[in-house]
């Protein structure tokens, strides 16, 4: 084992715990931070501390929010009758960027995966049901990824919601627009074929 100075070893150790960062990149990032001007390094440390202090879950949709209720849930122009259910906050961002969904969201914080100990109770499903109970929702769009777990979660939700008289839809998956068939990976082409529609 290389002998790092102890504080450096600690920083590398913490960085390694982050997703997508292996030992090599942790080391690179740590050296970078070490060489940064002190003000920049402190700004980074403060941002990390602040995100923990100031960001919490929106009490309605469970997206990250600075306030008790997030800006989307508070926005009076949003269509209150459709809720788009996503697995992760980053999925919400992706859909929101398109500007096409004018309804509300609900973030589950994961998908059902019994193998990893993630049962329906571990997700924000109970909260979704309570929310539907108290609102005028007519349609729930399930936007989980087309994986085995994403599909199972969507199915679980639709079994739960349909008896309540709510329309449940699922995002279609297919070829990315503007992309060449040539460059699409096989899984995408296969699913586009499966989900083809009549013209």
């Amino acid at each position: 084992m290389l002998a790092y100075a102890r504080p450096l070893a600690r920083l590398i150790g913490e960085l390694e715990k982050l997703p997508g960062i292996g030992p090599k990149s942790a080391q690179r990032v740590a050296y970078h931070i070490l060489r940064m001007p002190k003000s920049a390094a402190l700004a980074l440390a403060e941002a990390i501390a602040e995100v923990q202090e100031a960001v919490r879950f929106c009490s309605v949709c469970f997206n990250f929010s600075e306030d008790e209720v997030c800006s989307i849930c508070r926005d009076p122009r949003r269509n209150k009758t459709t809720i788009c259910v996503v697995a992760e906050p980053r999925d919400l961002i992706a859909i929101e960027k398109t500007g096409e969904h004018r309804g509300l969201y609900h973030v589950l914080h994961g998908v059902i995966s019994p193998q990893d100990g993630i049962m329906p109770e571990q997700l924000r499903i109970r909260e979704l049901l309570q929310r539907l109970d108290q609102s005028e929702t007519a349609e729930v769009i399930v936007a989980t990824n087309p994986t085995v777990e994403g599909d199972a979660t969507a199915l679980y939700l639709s079994k739960l919601l349909k008896p309540l008289g709510i329309k449940v839809t699922r995002l279609a998956h297919g070829l990315p627009l503007g992309a060449d068939l040539d460059y699409a990976d096989q899984a995408t082409i296969i699913s586009a074929l499966q989900w083809r529609r009549e013209m």
């Binding site: 019994p114 049962m119 329906p120 085995v148 199972a152 199915l155 096989q186 296969i190």
Partner: protein, 386 residues
Amino acid sequence: MYIRRLCLAHFRNYELLEIRPSPGLNVLVGENGHGKSNLLEAIYMLATTKSFRATRDTDVIQKGNPDAVAFAEVVFDDGSSCDVEVTVSREDRKSARINGARADRVLDLLGMLNAVFFGALDLRLINGEPSARRRYMDLAIAQTSPKYGRDLAAFRRSLDQRNSVLREMRDNPEYDPGLDVWTDQMTTHGSAVMERRFAFTDELAKLAVKAYAELSGKREKLVVRYEPSLGVEPEPPLPLEKTGGVSSVYLAARVCYDIELARVREIEIRRGTSLIGPHRDDLRLSVDGMEARAFASQGQQRTVVLSLKLAEFEYLEQCVGRSPVMLLDDVMSDLDDDRRSRLLQRVRGKCQTFITCTNLRSFPQEVLSEATVFVVRDGAIETVTS
């Protein structure tokens, strides 16, 4: 299709190797442990991304090196060519290059180079557990259908997830964390797997029976039967227009799967595991009405496995419209002279073939005279004669 150039770097006992095989018969001769099988393994890995020795991928990396690379220039019947490359690394995930560009997934390599391999371990097809026969079906079908590979992966995932749910329910009888949902996922993907296995074994049975008759000089008869754990017998498939675009074999498998699962539901919960489905399928092999595993002689067993491999070869050829590369590891032992020459007869002039042996005497002179012979010695090719 054939391999025009093969290069290895730090692969098993090869430091660096570059050879230009002939489009026809290539004989690799050498003493035990000098690297004949390793060379076939590299070609196989370029075709399937996997090793045929049931070990970890990183085992192919030469001792003391960080990674192993296999590269081949593949030439198709129309004269066009394609470069394929696989890198196995101790540090990183396995990766592939197609025409020099890094592929998003290693699996994208499937379908570029097709190969059929036969080796001593393949006798497990007869003597081994049903899992060996499922593996044979799965690899063969996946080579012709990327969709099958994905259905199979999705089936296995939903099976694992469902087993976790069943264990949970066994230990916690009051609790149901969504068994139905996982049952649905498992039957959706599992029925797609069975559908393809039906179609495959149907074709395969015909081809294997023909190959066996040929190799044995029509003296014996082989029967190959797919035995799904559900016990469904496929009806002849209905035209797709009649079933709303869904295959009738799929529907039949699915209906049967659902019924059977409902029947064993309580037992599955009590045992905490999934009891029926493609993960319990088998392939039954018999020679002259007797189960091969229990009754066939050593030479007959070898002939059965060879027939299955030749059938796989023709199946691949039909599906992809070009001849795969044939990899025969040490096939000549155990076969009598007649079977040997019928085997060589069958591959001669038909496709690119690599055969390993320890002794050239197992080959008839007229076959040797048109073959390219590589002498393999301690991780290097010593001489080439053609």
